[in-house]
Amino acid sequence: MTAAEPARDSAPAPSAVADFRAQARWQWYEPLFWLGAIAWYFLLPTYLPLGTQILATALFALSLDLILGYGGIVSLGHTTFFGVGAYTAGLLARYGWQEPISCLVAAGLLAAFAGWICSFVIVRVQGIALLLVTLGINLVLYEAANKAYKITGGADGLQGIEFSPLLGMFHFDMLGRTAYLYTLIVVFLVFLVARRIVYSPFGLALRGMRENWKRMPALGAGLRRHGALIFVLSAAIAGIAGALLAESVQFVALDSLAVQRSVDVLTMLIVGGTGVLYGSFVGAVVYMVARDQLADLNPAYWYFWIGLMLVLVVLFTRNGVVGALADSAAWVQRKRGRGPAP
């Protein structure tokens, strides 16, 4: 982007469009990333359940990135929609509708509907009030699911749910091979949609919203309309992520609605980096792998390290791991550009 800036100054309109197109082009590291996800399947067969969880969680973090990293809407209760998706899939399966793909679609739609209802409130508040409203919605839903144990199983969660084989052919096996590939494919497809959204004119308007809340209306952009739309899309993706996890582990825990999870996913996104799409994936990998390893050592104190990670990221990096990588890459390039001066 910095390289294209002089060109944009000299001839604004065409090169701005070209600049915008160039941003949307696939970068060299992107195929590498997805190849890595495929390689996981072959190289780490015993870690497939972990890999599936990481993918579903990364998708959840991606949905948060859409509203936070692009729309600038801070939510302390995003697991509301993750939980709605998970319970939709779980309840459908429990009451006899066990076809996984349609469950996924239903979960996305219902979560989108929940997001649409919430969006009326969300776009009207900012700052600390926004934190409280999102937290409040999350808490209300958690309490509701906790109390309605006849439907949701309460604190025990939805147990013993089963899904029929994928496309009628592939069983969800014990090793989690089907679940991993299925999750990977769905996550990749949804990622493509999210990528398209982010680099569309609508995505540009969102970034404008994030950068300057007051100036965008002057350009004729409808803040509330844009905010509501991205919130609904984000809720739908969160719902799909929730349903994916429910289908792959065949269980819905009440925990999927816990505020703790909202904070966890926010932590992942921050550790990875906001507003860069891949930040959510990097964050999910770092967070989940670290938890997998550290929790083995000493489960009760896991949150100490997470807390420390948060404090360090906030104090010392500009934008999580991805931001730190970009900064160091730019630093190396600057060094090289200056030549061999001592």
């Binding site: 600390i128 409203v133 104190y301 949150y303 997470i306 420390l308 948060l310």
Partner: protein
């Protein structure tokens, strides 16, 4: 007296005592939020630490309950000043999100730290005999512990209002909350005022956490569990640092929580959350907040 009247008086007594306790604990958060726009979600960690100070002193040094309270206040105030100088001060100009993340990180560290030092189980203290008995006045009987909460809460509340409304330092605090830049312009050292206010507010949280051990419970999850309560007090009371609003909100919350537990125990915390949501929808700046 008919039982229904006794029930109502009981709820009023317990509810106001709980509300006073909540006010003492969260008033510091309300003022610092109003002055620096700094969202210190880790306020509950200070309260928890105050509680642990008291249990430790009672258990290992044999102190009496009441004697530990001032120590909790002073110690937590001191700890908070260090945190403010080292961490928080860098974040005043930062985005709200960064403030939230930093303080959430501190919450997590304090939870794990408390579990490491004091163990994950709830702490119980044996209160002195004179705080465990029930007294009867006419037809109404109340616990002396509840009376202590009410008494300490009332005294502290009066002291806070006197300090804010009648002293020179209180005027400086109010000026800094109203308009930080103008306060700076007339020569008030806002940073110093803030540090002292922050210390006193955190100390009060620690004192409240210690005083309320038998009413609130004490275990490592305390900072998260009561975070919602503090946020409700602050948000309903008004996020612009209205102390009267915080008092009203704390009393409202104390009464509705107590009444809810007394009359409709099966709904749990549901009602409080719904009320908070409705208030935030109706007036995003709080019931008593200025727009």
């Amino acid at each position: 007296m008919p039982p229904i009247v006794i029930g109502i008086v009981q709820v009023l007594f317990d509810g106001v005592a709980f509300g006073m306790l909540l006010f003492v604990m969260s008033v510091g958060l309300s003022i610092t939020l109003g002055m620096m726009r700094f969202a210190n979600l880790a306020h509950g960690s200070f309260a928890m630490l105050g509680g642990y100070t008291t249990t430790t002193l009672m258990r290992h040094a044999g102190w009496s309950f009441l004697a530990t309270l001032p120590v909790s206040f002073v110690l937590i105030a001191a700890v908070s000043v260090v945190l403010e100088r080292v961490l928080y001060r860098r974040m005043y100009q930062a985005k709200e999100l960064d403030q939230v993340l930093l303080t959430v990180g501190i919450i997590y560290m304090s939870i794990a730290g408390a579990a490491y030092v004091w163990g994950p189980e709830p702490q119980a203290i044996s209160l002195p005999d004179y705080l465990t008995v029930y007294r009867t006045v006419g037809w109404f009987s109340f616990s002396t512990y509840g009376a202590l909460l009410l008494a300490v809460g009332t005294v502290l509340t009066l002291a806070i209002f006197f300090g804010l409304e009648r002293t020179r330092f209180g005027a400086m605090i109010r000026a800094a909350v109203d308009d930080r830049r103008v306060a700076l312009g007339v020569g008030i050292d806002v940073n110093r005022v803030f540090t002292i206010t922050f210390a006193v507010g955190s100390g009060l949280a620690g004192l409240g956490g210690a005083l309320g051990i038998n009413a609130l419970g004490l275990d490592p999850s305390f900072p998260i569990e009561y975070l919602v309560f503090f946020l409700i007090v602050v948000s309903i009371g008004g996020t612009a640092g209205s102390v009267k609003g915080a008092l009203a909100a704390a009393l409202l919350l104390g009464l509705s929580d107590t009444a809810g537990k007394y009359y409709i125990p099966q709904t749990g915390a549901f009602i409080i959350y719904v009320v908070m949501l409705l208030v935030m929808l109706w007036r995003p700046n709080g019931l008593f907040g200025r727009a």
